[in-house]
């Protein structure tokens, strides 16, 4: 099988993710998928903006009092940094340094887990305060928007972890290089969405 050949850093192609026809298709297809995801998240943002602070008459929760900016700020930093570490991983993927790539991906996963932990903490806090999923239209749209992002984080973490485990013995080849590349694209996209969540939900929420 040609795509299973062993490479050296010298024979490893410049764009291993696009070196095979399958890889090329995967990269194109994944970008199109991200285009669809953009619209999907836009729908959630639009609905959130329409239903922000809306609830049953006399609702005591407003975004101004509810959100904790410092926590969201820390979460942003974690996710941004994890985006950088996955860039490092791709840098080593392109120079055929499998060990370094796996190491940077592990750090990415750890940072992602940190983000996820903080998000779960934040959600449970809100629920304790009485701001549950079905408390109001505001709460439903908030949890759906931020929760959908959270689900993406979980999927991304599972994906990257599985990739690392599956290929830990095998090393890099042209069959799994596109998979790593796509997982990293997905992780960046999660960060892109979070930048908007941080700005639109948290920063604009507390004003």
């Amino acid at each position: 099988m040609s795509s299973n050949q062993k490479f050296t850093p010298h024979s490893w192609p410049d764009h291993p993710e696009k070196a095979t026809a399958e890889g090329k298709n995967k990269v194109t297809g994944f970008w199109l998928f991200l285009g669809g995801e953009t619209v999907l998240f836009a729908t959630l943002f639009a609905t959130y903006l329409a239903l922000k602070d809306k609830g049953p008459s006399g609702m005591k929760f407003t975004s101004q009092e509810l959100f904790e900016l410092p926590l969201a700020f820390v979460m942003t930093m974690l996710l941004l940094t994890s985006s950088l570490t996955s860039v490092y991983a791709m840098y080593h993927m392109k120079s055929y340094n499998f060990k370094a790539m796996q190491a940077w991906l592990s750090i990415t996963v750890l940072l992602g887990l940190g983000f996820l932990g903080l998000e779960i903490y934040e959600f449970t806090e809100y629920v304790h305060e009485g701001f549950g999923f079905s408390q109001s239209a505001f709460s439903t749209s908030f949890f759906t928007l931020v929760g959908t992002h959270g689900v993406h984080v979980v999927i991304g973490l599972v994906w990257i972890t599985l990739l690392m485990l599956r290929n830990s013995k095998r090393g890099l080849d042209l069959y799994n290089a596109p998979k790593y590349y796509l997982a990293s694209l997905y992780w960046h996209f999660i960060d892109v969405v979070w930048v908007f969540i941080f700005t639109v939900v948290y920063l604009m929420g507390v004003m």
């Binding site: 099988m1 795509s3 299973n4 026809a21 090329k24 298709n25 194109t28 297809g29 199109l32 998928f33 285009g35 669809g36 995801e37 619209v39 999907l40 729908t43 959630l44 609905t47 329409a50 239903l51 809306k54 609830g55 049953p56 609702m59 999923f133 079905s134 109001s136 239209a137 505001f138 709460s139 439903t140 749209s141 759906t144 599985l162 599956r166 069959y175 998979k179």
Partner: protein, 622 residues
């Protein structure tokens, strides 16, 4: 699978082959069969509606049952009949037209089909539980949230599953057309059917996510105590209307653009002329796709969005008439001076032009917001959208069935029966829907189960019902035609219409499962025509020497993954009233997740057809 030689297979092996297939030609057959099945179900529902409305004060259907039948008719026809039938032709034709051995992601192609099928079956199972959905195919939230029983749950969950399949297939076709074109097949040499499939797939990519989210909102509100549309909790039902139409308007272009593509091929073939104004056709297709996203609120003029919004959406809607008009004139100019051959597909194409123009003109009438206040929710609307959907999409599907039957099955449908089908269907169609314009203008509202006698509505409604029966006769003749053709089993051979222009007609019949022994080299628009004119008996030039061909393996995982969602949907629906619902939901999702993980972790490199086997292979039977 590794040998190309003909093997005798039992029925069971054939069925297993179809269940696990990743071959785009077989998936096209699956789409065709499933789509036809749902088309017949939706057609029976249509007949029930027309029987109920044949005379005033009729009690053939109860009001509640009428609502269910009417809702399921619309939902079935759009999502489970028209979409898969369009996909059947896209699957069968697009890879052959661009010189590809398969689609970009054969596995996902299969997954898309099975998701659609399980979603469609799930939706139709509603008849056997607490009743079918009954809030109209648009399922407006204020009404659908109040609907008792599980009907709307079936609607939301079923469409969610089949919609996921559609999105996957859309991405697949986009990548196929972007990456898998044969050498020389530039964008501006692509046949128009491929172009329309491309733009329709792009519309799917951007239109289905809003539907997905809208359906999730509906699922959350109905089954997981969300508050998106619950006004006492601060929700807003207008959100559903927006989301539905942000999806729903592009959806009609997703259907009509491939229909335009099929007719473009037919006009050029049977006028024996190059398609007139090819670049402007491409441009018009893209423009329609683009404008399709900017007009959704014209379905909501009477909601009260205000004069500014109504004016903007009104103007944008009217603008769509420009590219559509370009297309109509291009088709007419293609025929002008051509050596026209009136075959069954051409007959449909000729019938399509006046029918679709009529539907388009009434569309422009409704685009005018003040007039729409009068027409809204009347039978005028029903007449309009049946003129564009039946007069456009269904005529194209029938035309495409006759035209592409030899490509898909290596057999020719009977021309005489085909023409009889056309006459019955075409006359019946106009009889059914033309008078409905006037019923609407007289004030008959849509979606009513009964009308009173003595309001001047009796005669037109009765004639409309007669028309519906004529359409049904037409469809039955088509089915008979298919059966007779299958029994006779006369091979059609290559280029049976004798005027094929595009690459798919150049392939020897029956088409081998790898499509092309050698990747073809494309020298211009209508490549087969060019080779014919140059006296090239082979029909194509080759871009590569004969070598091993890489093929994907069949897989059962798509069925497993789709089945997981199917199970999960039942769990979601019953989780509030039963103790087991939640576990079924989690279990179903786990089945899907395991299927996905198995697919990711287990390497599947496909297999190679050896060069020597290709040399031995004369016809490509498999």
């Amino acid at each position: 699978m590794s040998s190309v030689a003909t093997k005798k297979k039992g029925l069971g092996a054939h069925i297993w082959d179809y269940i696990t297939t990743v071959d785009h030609k077989k998936i096209a057959h699956l789409y065709l069969v499933a789509g036809t099945l749902f088309f017949v179900i939706g057609g029976i529902e249509a007949m029930l509606i027309r029987i109920q409305l044949a005379k005033p004060d009729n009690d053939f259907l109860s009001a509640g049952l009428f609502n269910e039948v009417m809702t399921m008719h619309g939902t079935t026809m759009i999502f489970l009949a028209a979409m898969p039938l369009v996909f059947a032709f896209m699957n069968a034709i697009v890879p052959l037209q661009i010189g590809a051995r398969d689609v970009a992601f054969p596995f996902l192609n299969s997954l898309g089909f099975w998701l659609f099928l399980f979603g469609g079956v799930f939706l139709n199972l509603s008849w056997f539980f607490t009743g079918a959905p009954d809030a109209g195919w648009t399922s407006y939230a204020s009404l659908s949230l109040m609907s008792p029983g599980h009907g709307i749950d079936f609607y939301a969950l079923g469409l969610q599953i089949s919609g996921a399949g559609t999105l996957i297939s859309g991405i697949n076709f986009l990548v196929t057309i972007i990456n898998m074109r044969a050498p020389g097949m530039t964008y501006m040499r692509m046949p128009l059917f491929t172009w329309t499939a491309f733009v329709a797939s792009a519309l799917i990519l951007f239109a289905f996510p809003p539907l997905t989210i809208g359906l999730f909102f509906m699922i959350f509100d109905r089954m997981f105590s969300g508050n998106f549309f619950v006004h006492t909790m601060g929700g807003n039902t207008i959100i559903w209307e927006h989301l539905f139409w942000i999806f729903g308007h592009p959806e009609v272009y997703i259907l009509i653009l491939p229909a335009f593509g099929i007719f473009s091929e037919i006009f050029a073939t049977f006028s024996r002329k190059r398609l007139f104004g090819y670049p402007s056709m491409v441009f018009a297709t893209i423009l329609i796709g683009f404008l399709g996203f900017m007009v959704w609120a014209h379905h909501m003029f009477t909601v009260g969005l205000g004069p500014t919004a109504n004016a903007i959406f009104s103007v944008a809607t009217m603008a769509i008439a420009v590219p559509t008009g370009m297309k109509i004139f291009n088709w007419l100019m293609t025929m002008w001076g051509g050596s026209i051959k009136i075959t069954t597909p051409m007959l449909y194409a000729l019938g399509f032009i006046p029918s679709f123009v009529a539907g388009g003109v009434t569309g422009i009438m409704q685009a005018s917001a003040p007039l729409d206040y009068q027409l809204h929710d009347s039978y005028f609307i029903v007449a309009h959208f049946h003129y564009v959907i039946v007069g456009g999409v269904v005529l194209a599907l029938f035309a495409g069935a006759h035209y592409y039957w030899p490509i898909m099955f290596n057999q020719m449908l009977n021309e005489t029966l085909g023409k009889i089908t056309f006459v019955f269907f075409f006359v019946g169609f106009h009889l059914t829907f033309f008078l409905q314009h006037f019923l609407g203008l007289m004030g008959m509202p849509r979606r009513v189960a009964v009308f009173k006698a003595g309001q001047g509505l009796d005669l037109f409604n009765f004639i409309s019902t007669i028309g519906a029966f004529l359409m049904a006769i037409g469809v039955i003749i088509l089915v008979i035609n298919v059966i007779i053709t299958a029994i006779k089993g006369v091979p059609a051979g290559r280029d049976p219409w004798e005027d094929g222009r595009t690459l798919e007609w150049a392939i020897p019949q029956p088409i081998p499962f790898y499509n092309f022994k050698q990747t073809p080299l494309i020298r211009g628009l209508d490549p087969y025509w060019i080779e014919k004119m140059d006296g090239n008996k082979e029909g194509m030039l080759y871009a590569e020497p004969l070598s091993d061909i890489h093929m994907p393996n069949n897989s059962f995982i798509p069925v497993v993954m789709s089945f997981g969602f199917f199970v999960a949907a039942f769990g979601a629906m019953f989780h509030q009233e039963t103790s087991w619902g939640l576990y079924v939901l989690i279990g179903g999702l786990a089945i899907t997740a395991l299927g996905m993980i198995y697919r990711s972790v287990k390497d599947d490199h496909g297999y190679y057809i050896k060069k020597e086997d290709l040399l031995d292979d004369k016809g490509g039977k498999h």
